[in-house]
């Protein structure tokens, strides 16, 4: 088992406009990318569990031409609403870092 953070070159979260939060998992090494992709570990269901959110709001993309994975969800609090704790949405990536990949 290896933590996803040790295989990916970048695991980031970011606003995709003020209403959507998006998560990118990117690789430089094609073998590592394929290992993660073919493990089947990454899924909408996994994301919903990691982030305590309903599975039907999660979008998941596997992108061979960019060697990356993307998750997107509606922002739990729209950007800049009173109470929004992360204006750029940039510090929401941590739970993905410790996903175990066989």
């Amino acid at each position: 088992m290896t933590a996803l953070a040790e295989l990916a070159t970048l695991i980031r979260s970011k606003n995709a406009g003020p209403f959507v939060l998006t998560f990118d998992i990117l690789f430089k090494d094609e073998k590592k990318y394929r290992r993660v992709r073919d493990s089947g570990v990454l899924s909408k269901e996994l994301f919903a569990k990691l982030y305590n959110c309903p599975v039907d709001i999660v979008r998941f993309f596997v992108c061979d031409n960019a060697m990356g994975f993307k998750f997107s969800i509606p922002r739990p609090t729209f950007q800049g609403e009173v109470g929004d704790p992360d204006l750029h949405g940039g510090q929401q990536n941590t739970p993905l870092m410790f996903v175990d990949i066989p």
Binding site: V20, G68, V82
Partner: protein, 455 residues
């Protein structure tokens, strides 16, 4: 025309990343235009609501001066989009004024077209009544009265107004709110180059050197032909790789393949990325599908109220392990005092406690439950006036300071305050109130052009 060449001078005009030496190197390739995005919603709704810019005037002048002088020497146009952060009319005029100051100091004349993109409440209400305003997903709920409450609403222009300005002979286009990619796609599409690659060029160039393996100070240069796009940086230690360019197509988009614009959708599903040399990437097979209906994305901000902030820290482990119940006791005391002293109901104000160290950063998305050594506590009090927010903060001070926990008997101080006086007045607070598109009656009616000679 066999090929068109262009330069992104900066990923954010005023950010100070324009490098004159790198721009000179790119200018040696004889580009046909330079474009720069100057705005963002990424920092929040404040700039759109208040009209304040993210960068000081001196910073925008510094970046624009390098770009405008180089373009003037080469005799090529410059396009600036989302001028002054949010692209409201006053911010467009502010950038025109800065450009005028530069032109006057350099003793050159510049044929300039300003494009205003702010939308009036009366116009928007007319569209709303005609069912010409449609929600995107997700969107805040709206009604007609919203348009009278908004501080500012802008429409995001596509390539069409920019093309009109260029066709009119503008040497400098200072655009209001604008699709970042449109700044780069406008001229290539006008000259008959493939739309998919032209929009894709914009998508990967608009953030400047962020498309590189490691971002830094420099510029991005592109060469577009009928069937391929070449992209590379100029600047110290910068390079584009197939992975860095492909990955940047992901950046800040909910969908990695489909990117919606006014006139249609850029489709990157079949795009290919290959290395040409150490610095340059070749892109092919990007598509563009025209939309049946021309739409203009709306961005709006409305005033929520005024905030006063309290900052403090908690170190005592007894308080930390009781934090969740303790903070509820604090909240109840403040609500009671607000009712007794200020005659306010809980719906008249908001108390937002952000417990740094506990779950302040991820909020509802946090699943980790362990307790920290310290908690940094920020209380944001929001009310209808600044005076009221501050009064609420003032009556919050004692409950935060002396709300007991079962473990200790006698008087104990529960929080380490950082400031005297404790409350910090933060000013007006805005919210984004629209994630909608407008369907204008004509493509032109939302964007007003004004041509002038500056210098």
């Amino acid at each position: 025309m066999e090929e068109i060449r262009f330069v992104c001078g900066s990923g954010g005009l005023g950010g100070g990343k324009v490098l004159a030496k790198a721009l000179d190197e790119a200018m040696a390739m004889k580009p046909h235009f330079i474009a720069c995005d100057a705005g963002t919603t990424d920092s929040g709704p404040f700039s759109l609501g208040s009209g304040r810019t993210n960068y000081p005037r001196e910073a925008v002048k510094r970046d624009l001066e390098i770009i405008l002088a180089a373009a003037k020497r080469a005799g090529i146009p410059v396009l600036i989009g989302s001028s002054g952060t949010a692209g409201i009319d006053a911010q467009v005029d502010w950038v025109v004024d800065i450009a005028n100051e530069i032109a006057t100091e350099h003793q050159f004349k510049v044929k300039t077209t300003a494009i205003h993109s702010e939308q009036s409440p009366a116009y928007l209400k007319g569209l709303y009544r005609d069912s010409r305003i449609k929600p995107l997903d997700p969107a805040p709920p709206i009604d007609e009265a919203l348009f009278d409450r908004t501080a500012h609403v802008v429409g995001m222009m596509g390539v069409e107004p920019l093309q009109k300005a260029l066709a009119g002979g503008a040497e400098l286009v200072v655009a209001g709110r604008c699709s970042d990619s449109a700044l780069f796609a406008a001229m290539p599409i006008m000259k008959g180059f493939p739309e998919g690659l032209a929009w894709h060029a914009g998508k990967v160039m608009e953030c400047g050197t962020q498309v590189c393996e490691s971002a830094g100070r420099g510029v991005i240069y592109a060469k577009l032909t009928k069937d391929e796009l070449l992209i590379r940086p100029y600047g110290e230690g910068l390079r584009c790789t197939p992975q860095s360019v492909a990955a940047h197509s992901f950046y800040e988009n909910g969908d990695p393949y489909i990117h919606y614009e006014s006139s249609g959708a850029l489709d990157l599903t079949d795009s290919t990325y290959e290395a040409v040399d150490e610095f340059t990437v070749r892109i092919r097979n990007s598509g563009f599908r025209h939309a049946d209906t021309y739409t203009v994305k709306l961005e709006g901000a409305e005033l929520v109220g005024y905030q006063t902030v309290i900052v403090g820290g908690i170190r005592d482990p007894y308080f930390i392990r009781n934090y969740d119940t303790w903070i509820e006791d604090v909240r109840k005391k403040i609500v009671t005092s607000a009712k007794e002293i200020l005659k306010l109901e809980p719906s008249d104000f908001r108390l937002d406690f952000h417990a740094y160290g506990r779950n302040a950063v991820m909020g509802a998305l946090e699943t980790e439950t362990s307790m920290p050594r310290e908690i940094g506590l920020v209380l944001n009090v929001t009310a209808s006036t600044q005076a009221l927010a501050t009064k609420l903060a003032e009556i919050s001070r004692q409950p935060l300071l002396h709300t007991p926990i079962p473990e200790w008997s006698g008087s104990i101080t529960s929080i380490a305050f950082l400031h005297n006086p404790v409350p910090l007045e933060r000013g007006a607070v805005y919210r984004f109130c629209l994630n909608h598109v407008a369907i204008p009656r004509t493509q032109e009616e939302m964007f007003r052009m004004r041509s002038l000679e500056i210098g």
